[in-house]
């Protein structure tokens, strides 16, 4: 699975993109957040407070209960501030 990070999420994690092989028990975005948080360091910092995050699956906004697959492009980012 490809995971993309933007803005301060990208900075805290230290990369804008990575490939992750999902363990079988990770089926939703919420479970992916928990899985990534357990890595510690910048991940714990970012994923310890999911209320500050938005997620997208295949470039569409997705709620945290969305079911995900290995072929998906997942993105995590802060609420948007453009315009």
């Amino acid at each position: 699975m490809t995971i993309l990070y933007f803005a301060w999420v990208r900075q805290k994690i230290g990369t804008g993109e990575e490939c992750v092989s999902l363990p079988a028990h990770v089926m939703t975005i919420a479970q992916l957040i928990e899985y990534l948080r357990a890595r510690g360091g910048g991940y714990a910092d970012v994923f310890g407070d999911p209320d500050r995050l938005r997620a997208a699956v295949n470039q569409e906004y997705a709620p945290f209960e969305t079911i995900i697959a290995d072929s998906d492009e997942i993105a995590f980012f802060p609420p948007v501030t453009g315009g």
């Binding site: 933007f6 993105a75 948007v80 501030t81 453009g82 315009g83």
Partner: protein
């Protein structure tokens, strides 16, 4: 989405082209403001998703108001005070549709399009936090 500046007048000319049914062109241009000693803004986007979100909201604007043509340009990268950031230009037969659709698009750009601003003030950058007033501005289009 582009790093280069845009020419508002040229974009308006291109929007109308050879059409003779356009009676109103409304443009909004957003610029970098030097608030509290700000020296630069850096804008980041999600290539692909940002364009899709903008296209989706242009389609929604076209379904809600009788607009004839729309241009949305958003710059990314590092921009200094007074630089242009965003252009929304809407053409319609009468002014009301163009005004309303332009405002709708700006409100949605600010709250839905994946774009993030980082402010520079002297040393280092700070990511801009979401403003409640922007969320409320977008919400009113769901109520009316």
């Amino acid at each position: 989405m582009q790093t280069d500046d845009f020419d508002v007048s040229a974009e308006c000319d291109a929007l109308v082209g050879a059409r003779t049914d356009v009676g109103a062109v409304v443009t909004f241009t957003g610029c970098v403001r030097a608030d509290d000693g700000l020296t630069a803004l850096t804008l980041e986007h999600y290539p692909g998703m940002t364009e899709r979100e903008i296209a989706k909201h242009v389609a929604e604007a076209e379904s809600r108001w009788p607009i004839l043509a729309t241009t949305v340009i958003h710059r990314v990268g590092r921009l200094v005070p007074s630089a242009r950031i965003v252009l929304v230009a809407v053409a319609s037969a009468h002014r009301e549709a163009a005004f309303r659709a332009g405002e709708f698009l700006m409100d949605y750009l600010k709250t839905r399009a994946p774009l993030w601003k980082q402010e520079e003030r002297g040393s280092g950058g700070t990511w801009v936090e979401v403003r409640k007033s922007d969320a409320n501005a977008a919400l009113r289009w769901r109520q009316s």
